[in-house]
Symmetry: C2
Subunit: 196 residues, 2 copies
């Protein structure tokens, strides 16, 4: 009987497509096997377990995301770069909700993603170069930037913004503007001015 030509890479790619179609939480070994017309036990020659398959999707997503971010940053600087970078994230998350969800859930586990994570850090650091922050401010700013962008997209994906008629796209643009303001006026370590 003809072989299906399975590869770790093809399995991960199929899992990623599946994730975008039916949600990352529904990516199962069985479902991927079904998509190849194969029994689920057959996949275990190519991936260690379900966890590794899902981590593969996460790694793929992070790589694609880094590619897009790098492209967005090319030839831009300052606020223009910030906006392009931010939009690249949000667009990717909208186009590939399953992959994007994967990039979240797996940060914790697996060392497969550690290299890609470094790439993301470097990209963000490059972006922030336009704001001329000194350590540890730059690290703090990177963390806040990540938090805001990912947090916004995550809440949006979870439907957390649907209770209000205000356009999410406009709120997004303003949030990026506000981030730019915060970065350009980055506060001192311990502000001595009174709180009132």
């Amino acid at each position: 009987m003809a072989r299906a030509g399975l590869t770790a890479e093809r399995l991960v790619r199929a899992a990623a497509e599946l994730a975008d179609e039916v949600g990352f939480e529904n990516v199962t070994v069985s479902a991927v096997a079904r998509r190849f017309g194969v029994k689920d036990a057959s996949l275990y020659s190519h991936v260690k377990n379900a966890q590794e398959l899902r981590a593969g999707v996460a790694a793929l997503a992070l790589t694609e995301l880094a590619d897009r971010a790098a492209e967005a940053l090319a030839g831009r600087s300052g606020k223009e770069a910030l906006r392009a970078y931010a939009d690249a994230y949000r667009t990717y998350a909208k186009q590939h909700p399953g992959r994007y969800a994967a990039s979240w859930l797996m940060l914790e586990a697996e060392t497969a993603v550690v290299g890609v994570n470094r790439r993301h850090s470097e990209l963000t650091r490059a972006l922030l170069r336009g704001y001329a922050l000194r350590e540890p401010d730059e690290t703090d700013a990177i963390r806040m930037l990540h938090a805001t962008l990912h947090g916004f997209v995550r809440v949006e994906a979870a439907g957390g913004f649907e209770h209000h008629s205000r356009s999410v796209a406009k709120s997004w643009a303003r949030a990026v503007d506000a981030l730019d303001v915060a970065l350009r006026n980055w506060p001192d370590e311990e502000p001595t001015k009174k709180t009132r």
Copy 2:
């Protein structure tokens, strides 16, 4: 034979404890049943299905979180209120990681949480009153605030900040400071100044 005295509420509470101990993704009907020394089929008289049980944990978490946020805001205003509010979120997430994860994953589904969500919006709106923003700015600011706080805590929980030695607590404090800066200098809708 003696009855275990199951209730929907007791089940949800047990599920929440379980979530904090072993992670939200490991909260199963079987595991909760085991904790009560009961067969899993017995739970289905009290909750419709596994999804509803998990949604119950989400609702519980959101309620507890709103309680803490309200307490943090009491008698405070301006930046002091912002800091207290933010810290309440982060502290809760650290103390109850499983519940907090639940509050995330379920936003999308189930109408059980819609009332609690409204309460959160109102609390955040009260917090922002100190910054005197006018609509739609206030809505935009609420969304950014949510995004940043949740995003930060989420990335921290996922281990996304562990590749750097900088104290996460300090980065958190700076992020809150930066948010305060952004809120006090909220940008206009379409800035007319050139981008360079």
